[in-house]
């Protein structure tokens, strides 16, 4: 009886301790939870868009994923979102002819993100992508 009572007390103490730890982690956990929730929402929307769009079916996607090749099967893998200009090679092709300029910087920029990504794969480099307000090509509007 004594050992059973002791075991029960230890279990109860452990449970209370776990609750304390959970409470202290709360602030951090809430922040991560919020961010994860936002990303999950975007993922769901994109998955729905991608499945509705024949252009984004797996057989239509380009070859040559980067870094460890197994990343293609990682849990966060999503269909490419052809419904958005940002990831839409067709929109990229329509935007302008591919050029490589420095635009007043010390860096060679391709005017097409998909072209830069293809080049990065080919040259075993990483991709540097600048998101800007305004027109990057025109210093006055950047």
């Amino acid at each position: 009886v004594l050992s059973a009572a002791l075991a029960t007390s230890l279990l109860a103490a452990g449970f209370v301790g776990a609750l304390g730890i959970t409470a202290r982690q709360g602030a951090v956990a809430v922040k991560i939870e919020l961010l994860s929730h936002e990303i999950a929402t975007v993922e769901r929307t994109e998955r729905a868009q991608a499945s509705a769009d024949p252009r984004t079916r797996p057989e239509q996607r380009s070859e040559g994923e980067s870094t460890p090749s197994a990343i293609a099967s990682a849990p966060i893998e999503l269909e490419a979102s052809a419904g958005r200009d940002l990831a839409n090679p067709a929109a990229d092709v329509l935007s302008s002819r591919p050029t490589c300029e420095s635009y007043g910087t010390a860096i060679q920029f391709s005017n097409r993100p998909t072209e830069a990504a293809r080049q990065a794969r080919q040259e075993s480099k990483l991709l540097f992508l600048l998101h800007v307000s305004g027109n990057f090509e025109d210093a006055k509007f950047t």
Binding site: I21, A23, R24, G26, A27, V28, K31, I32, L35, E38, I39, V42, E46, G64, E65, S66, T67, P68, S69, A70, I71, A74, I76, L78, D85, L86, A87, Y103, G104, T105, A106, I107, Q108, F109, S110, N111, R112, P113, E115, A116, A117, R118, A120, R121, E123, K125, L126, L127, F128, L129, L130, H131, V132, S133, G134, N135, F136, A139, F141, T142
Partner: protein
């Protein structure tokens, strides 16, 4: 953009990266004064997975430091993961969590740092985001970064000049 005109930054980025740009927002020019506008610099794998982000304009030294950091962190993650995607992702998550702890005092793994709320700056928020979601794709987070971290509205509208 001034940091990108620096030769040291240029040489390093040209050596390790291919580069491109994307207009994601706009701003207004009123009587010659620029109102709004911002920039986010993404360091990605060629399949558009975000390895690191610099949220907002920075000087050349910061740009170079961050570029070097992610290139080395990426190399180390590749070495350690030996082709295992889960380990690769976990390595990058840890790299961001380490910087979040060391530079912003927020330890996502510790049990005794929950007291009070910490005000993270933009870069702290980026590390928190990428510690929570390593290797997320650019198209999944660019709105979050531009609107929630930088406080700018994503827009395809042209720049408006008001005189």
């Amino acid at each position: 953009v001034n940091a990108l005109a620096n030769d040291g930054v240029g040489n390093y980025l040209n050596e390790h990266f291919t580069a491109s740009f994307q207009k994601v927002a706009t701003f207004q020019i009123t009587n010659g004064q620029k109102q709004g506008g911002n920039v986010a610099s993404y360091f990605c794998s060629p399949d558009n997975r975000v390895l690191h982000v610099i949220a907002g304009p920075v000087d050349a030294a910061t740009m170079l430091r961050e570029a070097r950091w992610i290139v080395e962190a990426h190399k180390l993650a590749q070495l350690d993961s030996a082709g295992d995607a889960t380990r690769f992702s976990e390595n990058l998550r840890k790299a961001h969590a380490d910087r979040l702890r060391r530079e912003h005092g927020l330890d996502v793994a510790a049990v005794d740092t929950g007291r009070g709320r910490r005000a993270l700056d933009n870069q702290g928020r980026v590390h928190l985001l990428l510690a929570a979601a390593p290797l997320v794709k650019v198209e999944q987070v660019y709105k979050l970064i531009f609107e929630k971290i930088l406080g700018e509205q994503v827009s395809a509208s042209p720049v408006v000049e008001i005189k």
